[in-house]
Symmetry: C3
Subunit: 319 residues, 3 copies
């Protein structure tokens, strides 16, 4: 897909870096893909698009001012965590003018956490991925209990004691398409079929294997929770799918040498991601936090650390 | 005890590996000891024995298929976490046909987590020990809230807010023997005097010092909680003892050079393990999870990491 | 300030080590400063002073007996965690004779945890700082639920589900002085203006920049929570300030090369420490634990790990 890389290279550097930052949410170091993602976000919700823009700019500029690696900044690696911080805080907290400041502060922190984790993980050739976004947003979301200037929104799970699942049932055939596409959209908090399709398109521009893995991850994130008897509504909204989508892309396409073997590993990892997500959700219930993409991060970390001990797996590819 | 090693070496390789895997639960790389443990488990409960068998085979075969170190597999290191996963899930969850699948999946994950942690901990010469079992089982046990196909059993602590201890009292002299032997049995979830005695026998075949440390750990796990005023019932069931048993074996026999000094360190570590267990139990109360063997893991890790900074302690011996 | 170092060097070695251990709570390797801190503690409360003395002696002697680095012991590095353990347990638990034993046990553990963390963090040139104190005290405080021989005091936050802040309001001008000085005093649990002033004096003897950073941290810990709408009472008691005090001292004075740039970074880190403290407090609500100084530790760790990835920041200075 050379044409998109040609456009990517022709763009002015600041714009290219910012758009690549958005693209890196799905591991795509490509400004055209980033642009498609950003347009999709704006289509889903103008606020989400604006928050993502503020986030990606804040985290990238912070990385530049703090003197982190220019190569990493150029590749958009200091952008995707900020891209996620913005829509996340605007989805889960009540909107207010000062929330924009909160997004900027959290995006800056996400770049510092990324640099810290890169330093720790680099010798193992394991990426920090979206963990800075998750850790930062957990801290900022749960801090809100103590601050009168910010308010928890109705979408945040209320704090409490974990309870047994209700509302279990097979999802009807006509809902599958919705569940699969929303599963891809929910990676950036978009509860929308159109956004999901646009995200998948953006990925396909860069790599067919990447798009296939994303779609397979969505399938795993619908079938496995159905077999395990998870809540039907969550499955239909793609809320069990966005983590396996990322896990399968990471292991089946980006960080292991692509092969039949790595595809099988990716499926196994996708299945385990579903269990991990259900478990982590219960862990977080007493403080009323969502899992965000940490199930993906945890499972990917385990598989990539373990890859270094295997004689069969190809060790992780470059970041 | 050469005769048991002679038998160990004479066995066909797959059988030897599987039985060593069971033996490694108590740090014994010896198929005869593993066989005694497995027989004891079946005596305690046929289901527990079968679950341990499925677990040890799943985790070992997974390690083989994933291409992890043959030397480690031969030593049974990829077996003991699976051995524990099986009885753990069958003790704490309601029995059902699909629970066997759950055990297989968790055992596979335990091998991946073990490889990952080995890669991280190896440069420090610190073992992962049973941490993969604990982390995997916590995730699988707490995930069950979200899945209709699996049900929490009555033995799992209900989720809630930690409360102050009740039912405190000195345990009568005639119960000591029960408490001590059950303390050893509970390492593999066996609430049984006979199983505990068989476990101790299996250890004694390999090392008198190992058996002495196990017994001393059980003593620490009865006396210290009594002095601190812990729940009498828990002490009598050996539930404060199985963690100090492992801590004292690990530090007093396996991972530090055996000496009078390391015995003293092992006793100190055993006492701290009791505090750590009480603390961790409170930490896990809001989500309704048991500590499993993590108190042992945490205290052992602290002591072995610290050993590398000491001019007196012998650094950890080989895994 | 040569005179204080002259006295420091003239003292008998055991006394110097113990007093330096107290001084290291505020990063001051200086026995005179340590003496001022200890006198201040006794002025605040005789029990707190005695508990700190028992703690610092226990942790230091333990480090000596366990054979840890003499250089580190001489610098008081094995003293400051014990210094904090003592007053912490005596503040949050009901007083009893056996509590002294508990303090000794926890102080010993804090030295082992410090050695372990030093071994892990040393290659990154990142200090363990007060993390051994925090981790040890969390474990010992939360263990008390299970032990009849120890009782939670009324100051410990009751376990429960996090709730939205109440009692918000700007603090009146005449309370600022109280809030700032108590913010410094609360580093060692002293709810006292006089103690805070003495602490600041002790720091100023060693370094004007250190004292300036401490005071700036206290300002950040009053202004930022006011802007965010935190509980007025907590702000007035300096309970939002003691963590930024430590963060700003660590980054603006001790561990980064002092410059205008590191001062700006220290302010940013101070602000983030406030968010981190509010977040961590909510995280710990279900088990009824205080944050202690972990917000400072977390933010400092992130910044110092990240410093190694920056071309502008001076890497951390020697411990």
């Amino acid at each position: 897909m050379n044409w998109s890389l040609t456009i990517d290279k022709a763009l002015p550097r600041p714009l290219r870096i910012i758009l690549r930052g958005v693209g890196q949410v799905f591991f795509c170091c490509n400004a055209v893909t980033g642009l498609i993602f950003l347009v999709a976000l704006f289509i889903g919700s103008v606020t989400a698009g604006a928050a993502a823009t503020v986030g990606v700019i804040s985290s990238t500029v912070a990385a530049y001012l703090l003197g982190f690696s220019e190569d990493d900044i150029d590749a958009g690696l200091y952008g995707f965590n900020g891209t996620l911080v913005g829509p996340c805080l605007f989805l889960f907290l009540e909107h207010s003018p000062q929330l924009w400041l909160y997004v900027v502060l959290a995006s800056i922190l996400s770049s510092i956490v990324l640099a810290a984790l890169m330093r720790i993980l680099h010798p193992y050739n394991v990426p920090a991925s979206t963990s800075p976004f998750v850790l930062t947003c957990w801290m900022f979301l749960v801090a809100v209990y103590a601050f009168d200037s910010f308010t928890r929104g109705p979408i945040l799970p209320p704090p409490g004691i974990p309870t047994v699942v209700t509302g279990v049932g097979a999802i009807p055939a006509e809902v599958w398409f919705t569940a699969l596409t929303k599963g891809i959209g929910e990676v950036m908090f978009a509860d929308s079929v159109v956004v999901g399709i646009l995200f998948l398109t953006g990925i396909a521009i860069v790599s067919w294997r990447g798009a296939l893995m994303a779609l397979s991850g969505a399938f795993v994130g619908v079938i496995v929770p159905m077999l395990f008897g998870a809540n039907q509504n969550l499955i239909e909204m793609g809320l069990y799918a966005f983590n396996p989508v990322l896990t399968m892309m990471a292991l089946g396409w980006v960080f292991l040498k692509p092969s039949g073997k790595s595809a099988v590993l990716a499926i196994l990892a996708g299945i385990l991601t579903v269990v991990c997500q259900a478990g982590l959700a219960s862990f977080l219930t007493p403080i009323g936090l969502p899992t965000l993409t940490f199930p993906f991060v945890l499972v990917m970390w385990m598989f990539l650390f373990a890859a270094g001990k295997s004689k069969y797996w190809s060790g992780p590819a470059a970041k």
